[in-house]
């Protein structure tokens, strides 16, 4: 008798747990994040995650979406490997009530994901990956939305910066990846459209190279007066260290894509960073308006959630800022859509208007014809302060 009673109680408890979990699941709107968490030196993944989580924290504290449903983040580690990214995206697509997925820094991963998200109809929110074709993917309707830098904008900013530095002959050091090829293509176009600047040489490298000095020297020997660097933090820091070890007169200005800010670049370069004329393209700096209410609010949430005490402690700040704004735009889109239906949400993203974000005020971040929330005007060159903070370089 006792045994029968205990079995009945167990069954009832199990049913209660299942129902409770089901109810809880139905009350949550999930946001996916597939980023390179396993990448050893990347900090952009954490920055994106923190930006999303800060935004979710704000949204959930404000009542959530769809009349009270909480937003929740599900993260996947793609280790910067496209195949894992594709699988992660598929796995996330299987999650009930998951409305959209954020991607990480690595263009190849995102490019491989593009066909998948369109196949399954899952909105992709890109806060970092900069390849033009992520957005210009040819799919209609387009499920990819970016609030971030675009390679062609970055190249233009970098080239202009080189010109401003008096370098009319530049060499290009770029990875032998789709990201590198995209930038190379953009640089070629820019050079073709701007004959005052010449690309003297292009050096390709693989991820994980042990040295880049030979390629750097090849660029210098080609007559380059500045180096257009397309790199992430690993290869960028390697080049900086190697260039810093050269005599000062052999150190060419290095104008870098923002990939290097996807890691703790100051820590990776050490004192070498200050020995090199190094600049990096950015779209946002907390130090432009550090005392603004938005920044303070974000910092306070970041302090609460992640124990970040100062703005300079925010690594890869553009990732955080972009993800933050994108999450808020997504939340608005969900509400506009009135459900977690992915297609409806995708369509709603194009209808979000008048969002006063961290980076800027978005009259309409995305439209049917434009899936770039930022514009070339938002792009600027920055540099690392001695304390590691990334600050805007103001043109004289």
């Amino acid at each position: 008798m006792k045994k029968t009673v205990s079995i009945l109680i167990t069954v009832m408890l199990a049913c209660f747990c299942i129902l409770n979990i089901s109810f809880a699941a139905d009350n949550i709107i999930y946001i996916g994040l597939d980023a390179e968490f396993g990448h050893a030196t990347s900090t952009s993944d954490d920055a994106i995650k923190r930006g999303i989580l800060i935004a979710i924290d704000e949204i959930n504290r404000a009542g959530g979406v769809l009349g009270g449903k909480k937003l929740e983040l599900i993260e996947k580690d793609n280790r910067s490997v496209p195949a894992r990214g594709v699988q992660n995206t598929k796995d996330l697509a299987d999650v009930k009530n998951l409305v959209a997925v954020f991607c990480g820094k690595f263009t190849p991963v995102v490019l491989e994901t593009i066909p998948v998200i369109h196949q399954i109809g899952l909105p992709l929110l890109d806060p970092w990956a900069a390849h033009d074709k992520i957005i210009d993917n040819g799919y209609s309707p387009n499920y990819a939305f970016r609030l971030g830098l675009r390679d062609s904008w970055a190249i233009a900013a970098m080239m202009r910066h080189a010109e401003k530095k008096g370098a009319k002959r530049v060499g290009m050091l770029t990875p032998i990846t789709s990201w590198g090829r995209g930038n190379h293509e953009a640089a070629q176009k820019y050079a073709a459209a701007n004959p005052q600047i010449t690309i003297t040489n292009v050096q390709w490298y693989s991820w994980g190279e042990k040295t880049l000095i030979d390629k750097y020297n090849a660029l210098r020997k080609s007559g380059a007066e500045a180096v257009i660097l397309i790199a992430n933090e690993g290869e960028g820091s390697l080049l900086v260290r190697e260039v810093a070890s050269l005599p000062e007169k052999e150190r060419l200005p290095i104008i870098s894509h923002w990939g290097i800010s996807g890691g703790d670049f100051p820590a990776l370069t050490g004192t070498a960073l200050q020995k090199v004329d190094f600049s990096v393209v950015q779209t946002y700096s907390f130090f432009d308006a550090p005392e603004s209410e938005k920044v303070k609010k974000i910092l306070s949430i970041a302090k609460r959630l992640f124990n970040i005490k100062e703005l300079k402690d925010i690594k890869s700040p553009v990732g955080l800022a972009h993800a933050y704004d994108l999450t808020h735009i997504l939340a608005r889109a969900i509400n506009i859509a009135g459900s977690g239906d992915r297609k409806a949400v995708r369509n709603a993203i194009e209808q979000v208007k008048d969002y006063d974000g961290l980076i800027k005020f978005y009259k309409q971040p995305f439209t049917d014809a434009r899936h770039e929330a930022l514009s070339p005007d938002d792009v600027f060159m920055a540099k690392f302060r001695a304390d590691g903070a990334i600050i805007r370089i103001y043109d004289r």
């Binding site: 396993g38 030196t41 195949a83 894992r84 690595f106 491989e112 789709s178 994980g208």
Partner: protein
């Protein structure tokens, strides 16, 4: 005696088998001897050659096994080295984290890898799920999703090998994790699939892996390849491959070599048979030729002997050639011929002398017989007359010998004596000496009483060939004897009368002596023992 009989039997057998040709026998003997020697030498050679072949085979197999092992170890280790090195190449890890457009460098890189000519392989870069990213050899490479492989390479970060496919077309699958520096973890695998048959075929071709040699390659207990030659149970040489690098070592590859001794030995046997046949033929030809050459002088000697047999002493001597046994035999024959000629001359002379003496003796005997007053005759067992002297012819009143020669004389015997005569003749032909008195009636009717003494006449072989009878005409004597008999009877009768009177006289004298004795007087007559008076 027994040995002689055996020799005769053997000689007869060989004589029947090969005729009387001594050259054939010599040839046959030579062939037998040569073949016996060849058999002995061949057997010994066979033992040594077989031993040598086996030893050489074992050495060769050991060498080949070591060579094959080294070659396979080298080939497989080189492949492992290549794949291992390749897995560390940044191009691969770069391709793993790259996306669209990576074919422009990864395909040339993968296609740039070359294997030795003739070795089929597939080289594929796969993602973390074993899905192909790029292949240097296949347009549509298959996925490599084996859980063990993925676990070994991606979870443990260790290389993986496996034998796939079944004999005779096994493949070696080598998978190496491709580490990505940024994650310090394997993010993909480089998979090489090699057609082991190509490698094994090349290895086999370098060690003579045709059907003479059985080559088997096993992985653990599983046979993964064989050159198709039938497995030899004997002389199996097993070569493990201790120098294989990891992870090949885990495959526990072994080479089993087995020499097929049957072929070299069969060749050896064929050689022996061919050489044996050639030797036999050559031996027959040579021995026959040599034997004929050797026996030619014997034939000459034989011909001379034949001529001696047929026509007496030859008119020439044997030509003596060489100092060998036949030469000595020819010399001896010449000496024998000389001696024989001398003996022949002596014999001729002696025969002449004897013949002359015999003639004289014959004349003498003939004269005696012819002049003999008594009949001398020869009869055969049928009582036919063979010969008879003149006295005999007179007795039977024949005019000549031809008149009665060959005819039975029984018609001449008086009928009362025919049976006795025939019985006596038979007795003679049984070797007895007989005497017979009988009567004959001459051809001209004269009756005579004859006394015949007959004895057997033997030839040189002591065989009775005739009855020799000497017959005396006792007609007159018989008459005389009858008269004499009458006279003797008369005398005997007179004697008996005289002896009776004498005996009476002795008795009288005995009576007188007894009377005298009885009278006490001395005896008057001295009478000796037997009654005679002294």
């Amino acid at each position: 005696m027994t040995d002689k009989q055996n020799i005769k039997t053997s000689s007869g057998y060989f004589g029947r088998l090969f005729g009387a040709s001594i050259s054939t026998r010599i040839a046959f003997a030579s062939v037998c001897i040569v073949m016996l020697i060849a058999l002995l030498i061949g057997s010994v050679s066979h033992i040594f050659i077989r031993s040598y072949i086996m030893e050489r085979s074992a050495v060769a197999m050991e060498h080949n096994a070591a060579f094959a092992r080294q070659r396979l170890e080298y080939s497989l280790n080189a492949i492992i080295h290549d794949v291992s090195s390749m897995s560390g190449n940044l191009i691969l890890s770069n391709a793993l984290v790259d996306s669209q457009g990576r074919d422009i460098y990864i395909l040339p890189f993968l296609k740039g890898y070359k294997m030795p000519e003739g070795i089929t392989f597939a080289l594929t870069l796969c993602d973390f799920q074993g899905m192909p990213i790029a292949s240097g050899t296949k347009d549509n490479p298959p996925p490599y999703k084996k859980p063990e492989m993925l676990k070994q390479t991606l979870s443990k970060g260790l290389p993986y090998t496996e034998i796939t496919g079944d004999p005779p077309n096994p493949n070696l699958l080598i998978a190496y994790p491709v580490f990505y520096g940024a994650t310090n973890k394997p993010e993909g695998i480089i998979v090489m699939e090699i057609c082991l048959k190509d490698i094994f075929d090349r290895m086999a071709s370098t060690i003579g892996g045709d059907t003479r040699r059985s080559i088997r390659i096993t992985s653990g207990d599983a046979l993964i390849w064989t050159n198709g030659a039938e497995k030899e149970k004997n002389s199996v040489m097993i070569a493990k491959m201790p120098n294989l690098k990891e992870p090949l070592k885990g495959l526990n590859l072994r080479i089993e070599l087995a020499e097929r001794h049957a072929i070299p030995l069969r060749n050896l046997y064929v050689s022996f048979i061919v050489i044996g046949i050639l030797t036999l033929a050559l031996t027959i030809i040579l021995s026959r030729a040599i034997a004929v050459r050797l026996t030619k002088r014997l034939v000459d000697l034989s011909e001379i002997a034949d001529r001696i047999t047929e026509s007496g002493l030859p008119d020439r001597t044997v030509k003596v050639e060489g100092s060998d046994e036949i030469g000595k035999l020819a010399s001896a024959l010449n000496r024998m011929l000389e001696k024989l000629k001398a003996s022949h001359d002596d014999l001729e002379r002696l025969v002449g002398e004897r013949t002359s003496a015999l003639k004289e003796r014959e004349n003498f005997l003939r004269t005696i017989i012819e002049t003999e007053p008594e009949c001398v005759k020869l009869l055969n067992p049928d009582c036919a007359l063979l010969t008879m002297n003149s006295a005999g012819l007179s007795m039977i009143e024949a005019d000549s010998l031809e008149q009665v020669k060959g005819k039975s004389i029984l018609p001449l015997v008086a009928p009362d004596y025919v049976e006795a005569f025939k019985r006596h003749v038979e007795d003679v032909f049984h070797g007895r000496h007989v005497t017979l008195e009988f009567e004959i009636i001459g051809l001209k009717g004269t009756r005579r009483r004859l006394d015949m003494h007959a004895v057997p006449l033997c030839n040189s072989s002591n065989e009775i060939i005739a009855l020799l009878g000497i017959t005396r005409d006792i007609t007159h004597r018989k008459k005389t004897e009858e008269k004499l008999k009458d006279y003797i009877q008369e005398i005997e009768r007179f004697n008996r009368l005289a002896v009776g009177r004498e005996e009476r006289m002795i008795e009288l004298k005995k009576e007188i002596n007894e009377l005298l004795q009885s009278m006490g007087k001395e005896e008057k007559y001295k009478i000796a023992e037997g009654g005679k008076e002294v």
